[in-house]
């Protein structure tokens, strides 16, 4: 059948419309798929956001609960604080307290003791000094150090009529700022030292190296921020009545490192001493360098050995290596440590700086004396008695071999349930005054430390003190002190008795001892330290940035 042209056009138009509709339908289907995908994606995102909202809501509920608990706790603390304040008020208004204040003022105004003398007086309760870490700190107590006399220091002493409790209320950060500003403004001060130590705060009964160096620096008019270790940030901070000393607990020191490092301190020489390979020292050492400070690392123990023995879990060898390679110089207390540090930092400045003697240790009666060369065979020891260090086995064996000899041991931390022969006498802890008295009858000083790499890296302070008391010394093998005058060494119990027998009869020349001690005082170590600091000035390119900037 023939279709008319009109029909053909109509059909063509219909087909055109159909194709167009099909095309639109296909596009719409495609769009629908796309829309569906977007809806799915949005649904997923909504789910995720809903989950996060739920989590936030949960968190907010928990936070609100916690805030409620804290508010209750705060109320309780406030109540307790009120009670303490009331108690304090009662104490301050009591008669004994007023008498105490009068007595204190009388001492400050009338006795005119130097700080060192009064510190020496306070040291009446001191135990034996040692270069080892002290025993765990005793319960926290406020320590008041006596003030310096006006002739010793150029900085103004704090007003004597201000009780230290009032100054404790000043925020610690403000005390640090005030200390730094005071040092910066005093034209008589040429240097300033930050001692980053791992030991407890300065106490009369603790006489390890950082303490001694700090005390000596202060005696020489160098102000020191002494950073000490504390286990809890609730432990009270000692109030330093000496104007050249500010003691800072480690947590506060670390928090204020930036402020300290950046303080210009009036262009004075600034020295940072890391007396422990602490990560904080590694993190800040180059900030100190970049700020123009002299940086020193003081290696005073074989920390790596302690770590391997399980005694220093905090130690990281990489931190110590980094300090040796980034400080201006490293001071080592023993040759073994010096060799080790030189390996860690080839080409770096690594010097030997053994421990030394505090001349104040020896009483006036014992000045210039030598131990008796005849009479009762008494051998003495003072120091830690902990079995980690002290070789009880060898000593007991030696004592049994020589029952006529008497071994007098002074110190704490002796192990319980010791089965000792009767000729070993434990005298307990004694003050330096008592030690000076007791040691007058000794013929030999003993150092029976367990032998090994740890003791090879030790330079015991007591060897200087024995010699100052005029005693020859017998030790178990200890590499650092092998060449010291009148020091004999043994490796076992038999050798120990042999060497003790020799030492008891050894003729002593006091001049030889004095010549040795003359160059082994803490003053000598401080002198060496400061000379190193002088030599280190601007040798470091990083310090050159500072110099370049100022130029």
């Amino acid at each position: 059948m023939e279709h008319s042209p009109r029909w053909a056009r109509f059909r063509w138009a219909q087909e055109e419309a159909l194709a167009d509709a099909q095309s639109r339908l296909a596009r719409m289907e495609s769009g629908l798929v796309s829309l569906q995908q977007k809806v799915d994606a949005l649904t997923g995102r909504v789910d995720a956001l809903t989950g996060r909202v739920d989590a936030q809501a949960h968190l907010m509920t928990e936070t609100a609960d916690r805030i409620g608990q804290l508010a209750n706790g705060l109320g309780e603390l406030t109540r307790q604080l009120d009670q303490v304040a009331q108690g304090l008020h009662e104490v301050r208004s009591s008669g004994p307290w007023r008498w105490f204040l009068r007595l204190r003022r009388f001492r400050q105004e009338c006795l005119h003791e130097t700080w060192a003398q009064r510190r020496s007086y306070l040291r009446g309760a001191a135990a034996q000094s040692s270069d080892r870490e002290p025993a765990p700190p005793p319960p926290p107590v406020e320590v008041t150090l006596p003030e310096a006399s006006a002739t010793e220091v150029s900085m103004p002493a704090p007003a004597p009529d201000v009780p230290f409790e009032q100054r404790v209320d000043v925020p610690f950060e403000q005390r640090v700022d005030a200390f730094l500003d005071r040092v910066a403004g005093d034209p008589a001060i040429e240097r300033f030292v930050v001692m980053f130590s791992s030991t407890v705060h300065l106490r009369p009964d603790v006489g390890n190296r950082p303490n001694r160096i700090t005390e000596t620096l202060i005696k020489q008019g160098v102000p020191v921020i002494y950073s000490y270790w504390r286990w809890f940030d609730t432990e009270p901070i000692p109030v330093d009545e000496h104007p050249l000393l500010l003691q800072s607990p480690v947590d506060k020191t670390v928090a204020m490192m930036e402020r300290i490092a950046r303080h210009p301190l009036g262009g004075k020489q600034r020295v940072f001493i890391a007396s422990i390979p602490h990560l904080a020292c590694a993190r800040w050492v180059n900030v100190f360098n970049a700020s123009g400070w002299v940086t020193l690392y003081e290696c005073r123990d074989d920390w790596d050995g302690f770590y391997r023995a399980g005694a220093a879990p905090w130690y990281q060898r990489c931190v110590e290596g980094y300090l040796v390679n980034n400080c201006d110089a490293t001071l080592c207390t023993a040759r073994a440590l010096q060799d080790k540090m030189r390996q860690m930092g080839p080409g770096r400045t690594v010097v030997l700086s053994p421990n030394a003697l505090d001349p104040g240790f020896v009483s006036a009666e014992n000045q210039g004396r030598t131990a008796p060369r005849d009479g009762d065979p008494i051998i003495g020891y003072f120091g830690h008695l902990s079995p980690q260090w002290f070789d009880w086995g060898i000593l007991t064996e030696a004592a049994r071999c020589e029952p006529t000899w008497r071994f007098e041991l002074i110190g704490r931390d002796a192990p319980e349930r010791l089965e000792l022969p009767p000729n070993i006498c434990l005298l307990g802890p004694r003050t330096p005054t008592e030690i000076n008295e007791i040691a007058r009858s000794w013929r030999v000083g003993l150092i029976p430390f367990k032998m090994g790499p740890l003791s090879d890296a030790v330079d015991p302070i007591k060897v200087y003190e024995y010699l100052a008391l005029g005693l020859p010394v017998v030790s178990l093998r200890m590499a650092q002190i092998a060449g010291y005058p009148y020091v004999l060494q043994a490796s076992d119990a038999q050798q120990l008795t042999e060497q003790l027998a020799v030492a008891m009869r050894l003729p002593l020349d006091r001049q030889v001892i004095d010549a040795f001690l003359e160059s082994n005082r803490w003053e000598d170590r401080v002198q060496q330290l400061l000379a190193l600091a002088d030599a280190s000035r601007e040798a470091d390119p990083l310090k050159g940035v500072m110099a370049g900037l100022s130029a």
Binding site: A290, Y322, V545, G548
Partner: protein, 359 residues
């Protein structure tokens, strides 16, 4: 025009200084009044330039009080997201701009952009711009302005520092993140092997944890050559950077950027001071270091290529001089503070005066 910048407490001192430069320019040149607000105490003290008011708004209602007492024309949220939670309550009647000064938290930003609480965005990096375009199918849901890092070219300029250095300093100045160090240390160790006279210095990283710091030192200690020639300066005064960069270029060293670095700012600062820069051929580096400066590019993960580029840049004095001049020209042309801040101000004015969609 009053502008309130809400900045995160963890803002690094260098980022704060860079932001402060622009704010200072705004305050000095066009009479704008920038304010900086912290919603919690800043982690470290930052010295904001004169003319900028700093507010510590530790309680949520303090923001509302500030907005009521001191009507702002704009709020700029810098690199964090907490302010948006407060805006839901405060509902400030002004345009809000989100400014990214680093590419951190990119995923969170993309989440936010799903239902954007802000009216516009400011980003520093062309790489981020392209990422946003790709994510949102060529068009981000809010207007985006690219404000590259910039330096005052009169302060950051080539100089010389007289130092007793016998070694060449290779400086890595980048974002202090552990992942960046993971990339840096092995590469630097490899480069150090052939050049005994080089020291490798890293600046930045004060905010990282002790754990991350230990990790870095352990990683360095485990290398053959780097452990005796490595320095980490975790905090360095921004305004002494020109001096440090002069030391680096003067000693014959260069600035090394690693593939994990997201910000161009350290590179721009180095180029401004005439310091040669070496970087992997990726991300923003390829776009920024064009022309002559491309001599400092190396193929990512190709140690041999990196070593060759390193040796050439250290040893060819002529090349170093050419690169120093080219770098300086590039900074003057594209990263000068005056030029960048002017464009930035125009964008801010537009956002404050016109509907955000027109930005």
């Amino acid at each position: 025009m009053r502008i309130l910048y809400l900045v995160p407490p963890s803002l690094s001192d260098h980022d704060a200084a860079r932001l402060g430069l622009r704010l200072s320019w705004l305050a000095a040149n066009r009479g704008a009044s920038p304010h900086v607000g912290f919603l919690s105490p800043p982690d470290r003290e930052a010295a904001w330039p004169a003319g900028i008011q700093v507010h510590l708004l530790t309680e949520p209602w303090e923001l509302g009080t500030l907005l009521n007492e001191c009507p702002f024309n704009l709020i700029v949220v810098v690199d964090w997201h907490r302010p948006y939670l407060l805006f839901e309550q405060a509902n400030p009647p002004v345009a809000i701009i989100h400014e990214m000064i680093a590419n951190r938290d990119l995923e969170t930003v993309l989440d936010l952009l799903g239902d954007p609480p802000m009216d516009a965005m400011v980003i520093q990096s062309p790489y981020l711009h392209s990422m946003l375009a790709a994510h949102f199918n060529k068009r981000a849901p809010v207007p985006v302005c690219l404000v590259p890092p910039c330096v005052p070219t009169d302060t950051f300029r080539p100089g010389s520092v007289q130092v007793p250095a016998q070694r060449r300093i290779v400086l890595w100045s980048g974002s202090p993140e552990r992942r960046g160090w993971l990339d840096f240390v092995p590469l630097a160790d490899e480069l150090a092997r052939g050049h005994d006279d080089c020291e490798f210095w890293v600046i930045g990283g004060q905010s990282i944890s002790d754990q991350a710091g230990s990790h870095l030192l352990r990683q360095v200690d485990g290398t053959l050559t780097l452990k005796h020639r490595f320095r980490w300066i975790q905090q360095f005064d921004y305004w002494r950077l020109p001096s440090l960069l002069a030391l680096v270029s003067g000693s014959g060293g260069l600035v090394l950027a690693t593939g994990q670095e997201d910000s161009l700012a350290p590179i721009v600062e180095a180029l401004a001071c005439g310091c040669p820069v070496m970087a992997p051929r990726q991300r923003d580096y390829e776009q920024a270091l064009g022309g002559q400066l491309a001599a400092g590019l190396y193929e990512p993960d190709a140690v041999q290529d990196a070593t060759a580029v390193f040796g050439r840049m250290l040893d060819e004095r002529g090349l170093r001089l050419d690169l120093a001049a080219a770098g300086r020209r590039l900074v003057e042309a594209r990263y000068d503070l005056n030029m960048v801040a002017r464009a930035y101000l125009e964008f801010l004015v537009k956002c404050a005066c016109e509907p955000p969609s027109a930005c």
